[in-house]
Structure formats: structure tokens, C-alpha cells
């Protein structure tokens, strides 16, 4: 099975072309190809992860590669696959979510524009992400990385007829691209230090200490730039909420499996590089810690249900980043794994609600509990899972991150960073529970406030919800703390230490999450036209405006470039250049008048006209060569060949 893992990305990529070629002629107009392809990929992924479950992951890791093409002196680019626990887990996450999203989309996208193309793009998206995951070298990873970027651009802008949507797509593309530049430079810095793109070789070089500390720090920080862009970390998080312009299943795919997890995956994949440089790790941890709280605060006041979830994604990804920053690679990937399921569930649930209520704003919802029982039940599960209530999936992973952060505070190289991550994480856990409960109350409880006639979505949409609901309950059990061959051991790079549970921390985090839920449901039990949070005064306003980050970028980056530079050029043009030109013109006119009669009329004109006449005459003769008669051309051709052949035999 492992030997044929390359089929896992290839199948969805092939599906992309097949859907484009034949999709429209099939009875369902396309989705069946993508679903079959990703189903096979999913089954293969299960077969692969089965090798890692309950076993010591590092022993089963495989790398298969072949030369692609040589370049430079002695180096060559490989195309190959690296199958280890991390890859296997990512396979499962991507194929599961993609499969369910595609099934769900059959219902959600029914009757929408570019239906077949949508499924083709979903397949390409999945295949690109799987390419990124399977890559055994950084350049192949970069290929997948950029393909993912372009797919997200295509899908976010799916309804490009509206300017806002295409703007959102462009914003997503440019913002992530801003991160890709340091990423690319980082790859080159790493290559300069290690002389290889191969990931295992990089591991080895770093492990034996072949690379200088400064190079590693520079490479890690630059690479992290790419992760910031893709995973929507501060300060490049601005594209993620706007990416809600795409159809909701796309949001689910972007937020759960294919796009934003790429950044976390990158750091996890190159973790040895980061681990070799405490400075880089601390940067990761601090950016993560800051972003998680920052995004959670904004999420509290959003009215658009998808924006709440988007900021929640930013916050949860920051959790993973912070976990990586404190050295808890396994915990971070574990959170990625569980988060994928309940975040996909939340988005698909939100999609179901939006589908029914014909509005994104939670102010137009309410009371959907009775009308949409399946959506209600699954959304509740996801809310509890995201809040971190035992025994739902989110609890186990979030708790492990907090425990690891606390432990890093006690024993880690820089204690303060560990404690900062722990404190921020704990506050964020509380806020997360609060804003999720707020969203839940506003959407499902109370009375219906909208104008549409909501009803439960069709089976093809609720089915995936139920499956994801079940996964959101059980996915966490693979990583119960103290479990000997649990999740962490699947993807451990070396020896895996089994950590015992810290019951005090568990109690604290459960209390925080529970407190958040209780507070949220108390405050929002009855719907109020004025959000109770407005009592926070100016702070509320800051939050609603998302800390004015977009405005700041607009004022600090976009406008200066767009307006000032153009105004400056205008001024220079008007005063400096025009002055010079006018002056020159005046001088030229005076001298020109004199010259005109003598030099121009006689000498120059004569020469120019002479050239013109000559060219025309030559052209008039030569044009007859261009007769349009192919046989003449053939005659010239053969005559030329004969002449050349004679010349070669005579002189060579």
C-alpha cells in the first residue's frame, strides 16, 4: 500500500482533468468522478494509517523517490514521496474532509453557476494539497503549495460576477503571496546551508550539526513567513475572513483541510529545522499566542456566522502554531486532526443554515432548532468540541496543547514563552467557548427572525454532517493523555515519551470552557437588538472593526502606493519634467528654425526619402518571393537542402 501512495494525490488530480473533459455529460454533471477518485484515495489513506496506528511511527516511515532532472553542478531535483505518520494523518484529514465536502456540495451547489467547474476545482484543490503533503523535497512541496494557493483563488472567486468576491479572491492570493516570498527565500537559504532540497537529508544535516545556527534561524524564520501567510496568522490573517466570499463548502475545505493547514503542516514537517533554533521557535510561539487571542476577541462581535467561524479558525490555527512554538509538534498535529473534523462540520452546518435562511447574518436567524434538527444537533456537537468540553474531540487536543505549553513553561529553554502561551491559550479557550455559544444561541435558539422559510437540508447535505458529527465525538480518543501508543507515537520523529496527564490543568481548562459556555448562554439566552457586548464601549468598536488592521493596511500600504506615489509622479511630471521639456522645446525651436531650412529640408529629408524609396523598391521586388504558392516554398526548401548537403560533403 505504501509503495503506491503516489496514487493518493494523482487520483484527484486526474479527476480534475476528467471532470473538465467529461463532467458535463454525466448524469450528475461532474461530482461523481471527483467523489470516486477521492474515495479511493481515502481508502488508501486508511490502509496507510493502519500501519502507523498502534505502532512506533518512525519505524514505518518510508521514502521513495526518483530523479526528476539535474540542475547546477551535481545537484538534482527529485520527485518522490515521504510517507510517515504526519503524512498519513494529513492524508486522512484531507481525503475525509474533501470527500464529505464534495458529497455535501452536490446538494449545496445545486443549480449554481459553473457547477461542473466547481467540482473540478475541488478535485484539483484536494490533489494539490495531497501533493504538498506527500512531497519528499521542498521544491515539490512548493509546487503543491502554490497550486493550493491558485485553487483557493479560483474557488474563493467562484462567484466572480460580484466585484466584492473577486476582490476577496485577489486579496487572498496577494496576501498569501506576501508570505510566499519569504518562504521561497527560506527554501533557498536552507538549500544554501544544506545543499539539498530533500527533507530527510535536511533532517540528517541538521541532526549532525552540519549547518550553522545563523543559517537555520534565518531559514526557519523565512519559512515561517510562508506559514503565516497560508495559515492566516497575524499580521497576514486579513485574507481568511474575506475568503468567506467563496461558496460555503469551499470555506469548509479551506479552513479544515486543504489550505490553512498547509502552514501548520510546513512547520511540523520542517520541525527539526525550527527546533534547532530556539529564537525561531519563540517567534512561532509568540505569534501564535498573540494571534489566538487577537482572533478570538474579534470573533466575539461578528454577526456574520461564517466570519465568526473564520476568526475561530485563525485562532485555532494559532493554537497549533503556538503548540509548535513550544515544541509540542505531536500536540499541534493532533489539534489539526481533531480541528479539521469539527471545523468542517461547523462550516458545513453554517452552510446548511445559510442555505435555509438565505442570509449570512445571525441576526436573520434564530429558532432554527426545531426547523433543522439534524443541523442543530451536529452544530451543537461541533460547538462543544471546539469549546473543549470532554469527551468531544477538541477537548483532548486543546488540553494537550495547554499541558505541553505549561510543561514548556516549567522545563523549556525559555520559560516565559511557555507560560505566555499557556495564559493566552487559557484565556482564548474561555473566549472560544463564549463566542461559539453566542453564535449557537443566536442561530438556533429563540425565535426565528428572518424572512425566508427555513427547512432541513436534503439528505445529501445532512449525511456528511452526521458523519462529521460522529468523528467530532470520537476523533479525540486516539490521543488520550497517557495512552502508550496513542496519536503522538504515530508521528514521532524519534523516541516518543508518553506524557502522563496533569489533572489540575485538565480541571482548569474544563472549568474555563464550561465557564465560557455558561456565560455565553446566559448573555445571549434572549436575543437583543443591541449586542450586550456593546457595553464594552470603545473596545467593542475596535473589535467590530477588527482592530482596524484592514484600515491600517489600506492607509499604510495600499493608499501610499496607489495614491501618494501617483500624486508624486504627477507633481514631478507637471513641474519638473514639463518645465524641462518646455525649456528644451523653446531652445529647440529657436535653433530648429534656423536649421530647418538648410539641414532638414535638404539633407535629412533627402536621406530619409531615399531610404524610404529604397526600402519600398526592395520590398516591391522581394514580395514576389512571398507568393503563397506552397510548391514554390517547397522548391526553395529542397534546393536549400541540396546546397547544404553538397557544402557539408565538400567541406566537412
Amino acid at each position: 500500500m505504501t509503495e503506491h501512495a503516489y496514487l493518493i494525490p494523482i487520483l484527484p488530480l486526474a479527476a480534475f482533468f476528467l471532470i473538465i473533459a467529461f463532467g458535463k455529460r454525466l448524469p450528475l454533471k461532474g461530482p461523481e468522478i471527483g467523489i470516486v477518485a477521492v474515495s479511493i484515495s481515502f481508502i488508501m489513506s486508511v490502509g496507510i494509517i493502519a500501519k502507523f496506528v498502534g505502532a512506533h511511527g518512525a519505524e514505518h516511515a518510508r521514502e521513495i523517490s526518483t530523479r526528476w532532472f539535474p540542475f547546477g553542478s551535481g545537484a538534482h531535483l527529485q520527485i518522490g514521496m515521504k510517507i510517515d505518520g504526519l503524512t498519513a494523518v494529513m492524508f486522512i484529514v484531507v481525503t475525509t474532509v474533501s470527500l464529505l465536502v464534495q458529497i455535501y456540495s452536490i446538494g449545496y451547489m445545486k443549480g449554481e453557476v459553473r457547477y461542473t467547474w466547481f467540482f473540478a476545482a475541488l478535485s484539483l484543490f484536494t490533489g494539490s494539497m495531497l501533493t504538498l503533503v506527500i512531497a519528499n523535497n521542498l521544491l515539490m512541496m512548493l509546487i503543491g503549495w502554490e497550486l493550493v494557493g491558485i485553487c483557493s483563488y479560483l474557488l474563493i472567486g467562484h462567484y466572480w460576477e460580484e466585484k466584492a468576491n473577486s476582490n476577496a479572491a485577489i486579496k487572498a492570493f496577494i496576501t498569501t503571496k506576501t508570505g510566499d516570498v519569504p518562504f521561497l527565500i527560506g527554501i533557498f537559504v536552507l538549500f544554501a546551508g544544506t545543499h539539498t532540497f530533500n527533507i530527510n537529508a535536511i533532517y540528517h544535516k541538521v541532526a549532525v550539526g552540519d549547518v550553522s545556527h545563523a543559517t537555520l534561524t534565518a531559514a526557519a524564520i523565512l519559512l515561517f513567513g510562508g506559514a503565516i501567510g497560508k495559515s492566516g496568522q497575524f499580521p497576514l490573517h486579513v485574507w481568511l475572513p474575506d475568503a468567506m466570499a467563496g461558496p460555503t463548502p469551499v470555506s469548509a475545505l479551506i479552513h479544515a483541510a486543504t489550505m490553512v493547514t498547509a502552514g501548520v503542516f510546513l512547520v511540523a514537517r520542517l520541525f527539526p529545522v525550527f527546533a534547532a533554533s530556539p529564537e525561531a521557535l519563540n517567534e512561532v510561539a509568540l505569534i501564535g499566542a498573540f494571534t489566538m487571542l487577537f482572533a478570538a476577541l474579534i470573533a466575539m462581535v461578528q454577526d456574520d456566522i461564517k466570519r465568526v467561524l473564520a476568526y475561530s479558525t485563525v485562532s485555532q490555527l494559532a493554537y497549533m502554531m503556538a503548540a509548535l512554538g513550544v515544541g509540542a509538534r505531536e500536540a499541534a498535529v493532533f489539534h489539526l486532526f481533531t480541528h479539521a473534523f469539527f471545523k468542517a462540520l461547523l462550516f458545513l452546518g453554517a452552510g446548511s443554515v445559510i442555505h435555509a435562511a438565505h442570509s449570512n447574518s445571525m441576526r436573520d436567524m434564530g429558532g432554527l432548532r426545531k426547523l433543522m434538527p439534524t443541523t442543530y444537533a451536529t452544530f451543537l456537537i461541533a460547538t462543544l468540541a471546539l469549546s473543549g468540553i470532554p469527551p468531544f474531540a477538541g477537548f483532548w487536543s486543546k488540553d494537550e496543547i495547554l499541558t505541553e505549553a505549561f510543561r514548556a513553561g516549567q522545563h523549556g529553554p525559555t520559560h516565559i514563552v511557555g507560560y505566555i502561551v499557556y495564559v493566552f491559550g487559557a484565556i482564548t479557550a474561555f473566549l472560544t467557548a463564549f463566542y461559539m455559544m453566542r453564535a449557537f444561541q443566536m442561530t438556533f435558539m429563540g425565535k426565528y427572525r428572518g424572512e425566508a422559510h427555513p427547512h432541513e437540508s436534503p439528505r445529501v447535505m445532512t449525511g456528511p454532517l452526521v458523519i462529521l458529527g460522529a468523528l467530532s465525538v470520537v476523533a479525540g480518543f486516539v490521543g488520550i493523555p497517557g495512552l502508550k501508543s496513542g496519536f503522538g507515537s504515530w508521528l514521532a520523529l524519534g523516541e516518543h515519551e508518553v506524557e502522563s496527564a496533569n489533572y489540575l490543568l485538565i480541571v482548569v481548562s474544563v472549568l474555563l470552557a464550561g465557564g465560557g459556555l455558561v456565560l455565553g448562554s446566559r448573555v445571549y439566552r434572549t436575543y437583543a437588538e443591541v449586542d450586550p457586548l456593546e457595553r464594552l464601549g470603545w473596545f467593542h468598536k475596535v473589535l467590530v472593526n477588527k482592530f482596524y488592521i484592514d484600515e491600517f493596511y489600506m492607509a499604510a500600504i495600499v493608499r501610499p502606493i496607489r495614491d501618494r506615489v501617483s500624486r508624486a509622479t504627477l507633481w514631478i511630471n507637471q513641474n519638473v519634467l514639463d518645465g524641462a521639456v518646455n525649456g528644451a522645446a523653446a531652445v529647440a525651436k529657436i535653433s530648429g528654425d534656423g536649421l530647418y531650412d538648410q539641414l532638414d529640408q535638404k539633407v535629412v529629408d533627402g536621406a530619409i526619402n531615399g531610404i524610404g524609396i529604397t526600402a519600398r523598391a526592395t520590398g516591391g521586388v522581394l514580395k514576389y518571393l512571398q507568393s503563397g504558392d506552397v510548391q514554390k516554398y517547397a522548391a526553395y526548401l529542397f534546393a536549400g537542402i541540396v546546397i547544404l548537403a553538397v557544402l557539408f560533403t565538400r567541406f566537412a
Binding site: Y624, Q626, S627, G628, D629, V630, Q631, A634, F638
Partner: protein, 101 residues
């Protein structure tokens, strides 16, 4: 037998084909001349195959491929000629000079 004789026959057929391609104005006749040139190549292939005598008979296999491709070429070529005839009422190549100055 001297290897040069079949090769000379190939050269002769090829030259005849070249003449036909250059001098004939009827498109079907041009196609026939092209067939002559392809045959000339095949004669060479078969002759060399007989000379080299390797077990997998590459020369003859390639002659077969050339024959197959010639068949495809004639099919497409005639379809194009037919299309041109339908649009322009002529298949005289020197009258079809759309690529003119």
C-alpha cells in the same frame, strides 16, 4: 547482392517524388508523389534490415509503422483536399495562395 542497388532504387523513387511534389499542381497527384517518397524510405529500411539481420527486425517493423502512418496521412490529406475543393472549387495548388503578400 550489392546493398547499394536497393538504396539507389530508393534514391530514384525519392527524387521522382520530389519532382512530383514540386511540379504537379493537382493536390491528389502531390499526395501520390508523397507516397512515392515514403516508399523510397521504406525500401531503404527493408534493405538495411536485410543487411544488419538483427533478430528483432527493427527495419521491417519501422517500415510497417511507416506504411500505417502513410495510410493515416492519406486519409487526412484527402479529407483536407476534399474540404478545399468544396470551399474553393479547385484543388490546383498554385491557385490556393491565401498566404500571399
Amino acid at each position: 547482392m550489392n546493398l547499394a542497388w536497393p538504396l539507389t532504387l530508393g534514391a530514384l523513387l525519392f527524387s521522382i517524388g520530389v519532382y512530383g511534389v514540386l511540379a504537379r499542381r493537382n493536390a491528389v497527384l502531390v499526395l501520390m508523389s508523397i507516397e512515392l517518397m515514403l516508399n523510397a524510405v521504406n525500401v531503404n529500411l527493408v534493405a538495411f534490415s536485410t543487411w544488419i539481420r538483427e533478430t528483432i527486425a527493427i527495419g521491417q517493423i519501422f517500415a510497417l509503422f511507416v506504411i500505417t502512418i502513410a495510410a493515416a496521412e492519406v486519409g487526412i490529406g484527402l479529407a483536407i483536399v476534399l474540404l478545399i475543393f468544396r470551399n474553393r472549387e479547385t484543388i490546383n495548388i498554385d491557385e490556393i495562395d491565401l498566404l500571399k503578400w
